[in-house]
Symmetry: C2
Subunit: 138 residues, 2 copies
Amino acid sequence: MFSIGELSKRTKVKVPTIRYYEQMGLLAEAERTSGNQRRYDKKGLERLSFIRHARDLGFSIEAISSLIELQDHPDRSCEAATDIAISQLADVRAKIKRLKLLEKELTRISECCDGHGVSEDCYVLAALADHELCSREH
Amino acid sequence: MFSIGELSKRTKVKVPTIRYYEQMGLLAEAERTSGNQRRYDKKGLERLSFIRHARDLGFSIEAISSLIELQDHPDRSCEAATDIAISQLADVRAKIKRLKLLEKELTRISECCDGHGVSEDCYVLAALADHELCSREH
DNA sequence: CTTGAACCTCTAGTCACTAGAGCTTGTAGA
DNA sequence: TCTACAAGCTCTAGTGACTAGAGGTTCAAG
């Protein structure tokens, strides 16, 4: 059994974040000492590692809730889990697509002004003011 | 002179968002009718288009504030504007980099489970539980 | 037994909006 | 000119995933 600080160190999840996850129902309520401090065991560590890993992959708290629910019922179909993963993947791909458009546009805009001129002649500002100056949709 | 609803239609920025931008100081306080309704002219339209465009490119409200400040002083050096654009570009590139790692990992994980099995054997859940199963850092 | 680091709860702040309540105004048709 | 009612107004609170801080308590080493 170890403290929340120890759990934090081992999982690299900050202490307030751990408490937040508990509040959100992602982590079961921890056992307490007589003085009301949280104590965790291996199971708590594993669950938090799972959460941390899923968060790192960009899953929402809600999605993680569903994944944990499934994990707790080993006999259930895992269709929902793959669905969540696939939809997360689609999300990530959509974000990449959009960001790449932004990257192109920002690169183009930045390259057109060296920053040595005066605001009136600045291509960055002109481009923002006038969408017509954009090379494509974004 | 036109109403906030008309401005909203022309710029595709929602009415409450326009009011929010005003509150945040991005838009100057609009003129009002005797009945306290906002009225806009060409200048208001241009400024909101600028804001909309910058937001579409992912600039923060704060960054846009600085850009507008520069725009209002045509004689100032535009170094700050290019700095802001370049730092935004760096941001976007960092996000793309991270998302690509996530994409790889999520693709790999998703492909390992067809969703027809049972939660206990699900590779998606197993991969999340155990970082060792990841193919690389993410 | 003392010290102080670590713990506790609770509230409020972050960003860029969005939603809703409860009220007032503008405008088109009768 | 009157009447609907769409559109406007302000204000407060909610979103997601934390983070910061106040003000108090507990644990463990020396």
